[in-house]
Symmetry: C2
Subunit: 180 residues, 2 copies
């Protein structure tokens, strides 16, 4: 991913968070994490994050998902004696379509990214609007997409270790390389 | 505590949360927890809370503390194999003065509630403004007071079991009785 693209996504995320009424410190605002999961099509598959705290016991983040942007399907498996990350998504602004394992919707409202169709398999649909939340059990496949305005989502969870995430798409690399 | 007082505090908390840009579901808004810790002087010693999620692994709440209102000094001890609650306070709106065990401030900015002076012993001062946060180690004495405008504070933590909290003031009862 090009540095200019990262900077533009950070600026977009700052605007979305401000619109949601969320205040960041200058240091947090300057260091918003942008990941394209190594697929190099950030506008289609990627995510913007601010991690407030991540201890061995709990974690809290803000997630920004742009309109039509998708966080690819993944699960949080057990690691180092931890049973796997359990997480609660609470929508703060906008609308997010969340898909988890379970009874599939007849017609899902999100659009599966064209280039990655085979790697989306969970179609139980949950729609989250501001104030609504959903808890994803540990080790459960899930993915989500920003609605027409995108969304800001607070994530409350047990300890987060992104490097252990298992993505359905084998081409994905969670740690993003940035080029000048 | 009288029911009318609870209703007034809930209304005050709804306004404070709305001012902070935080959206609640109608059910959450109707059920904001109000505790006077059994001291029957809610405006001086008490707290308003919304618990979003509380599992065996993690917990997330919004706290509302009115101007000059104090959450009395307490700690979260070990319980049932849990080492004791660790918690992160993140100020979302207003200003909160937080006091924890450690090097005491020469002059603290909060005013210790007159009726309860002997029961406040931790005076290491932390001032939290919007976007600022502090993590309180498990089993550590702490108390906090709302600044001139009060404050809305997000609390991210390990599992919360309020019934095990140990307050410095032996007259405190965490579970509040409401009379008509």
């Amino acid at each position: 991913m090009k540095r200019a693209e990262v900077l533009a996504a950070q600026e977009g995320a700052r605007k979305a968070l401000a619109k949601a009424g969320i205040v960041l410190t200058p240091e947090e605002a300057a260091n918003i994490e942008v990941t394209d999961t190594g697929l190099n099509r950030l506008d289609k598959e990627g995510l913007e994050l601010v991690t407030y705290i991540n201890t061995e016991r709990y974690c809290a983040k803000e997630l920004v998902i742009f309109p039509g942007q998708t966080c690819p399907e993944h699960r949080h498996p057990p690691f180092e004696g931890n049973p796997g990350k359990q997480e609660t998504f609470r929508c703060r602004h906008g609308l997010v379509w969340l898909y988890v394992e379970g009874e599939p919707a007849e017609h899902i409202q999100a659009r599966v990214p064209e280039e990655s169709k085979p790697y989306y398999t969970a179609f139980h649909e949950i729609v989250l609007r501001p104030g609504e939340q959903y808890t994803i059990p540990r080790n459960t496949l899930h993915w989500f997409q920003g609605g027409p305005e995108g969304a800001v989502v607070s994530e409350f969870s047990s300890a987060s270790r992104d490097e252990f995430d298992v993505f359905t798409n084998p081409n994905i690399r969670r740690i993003t390389a940035v080029e000048d």
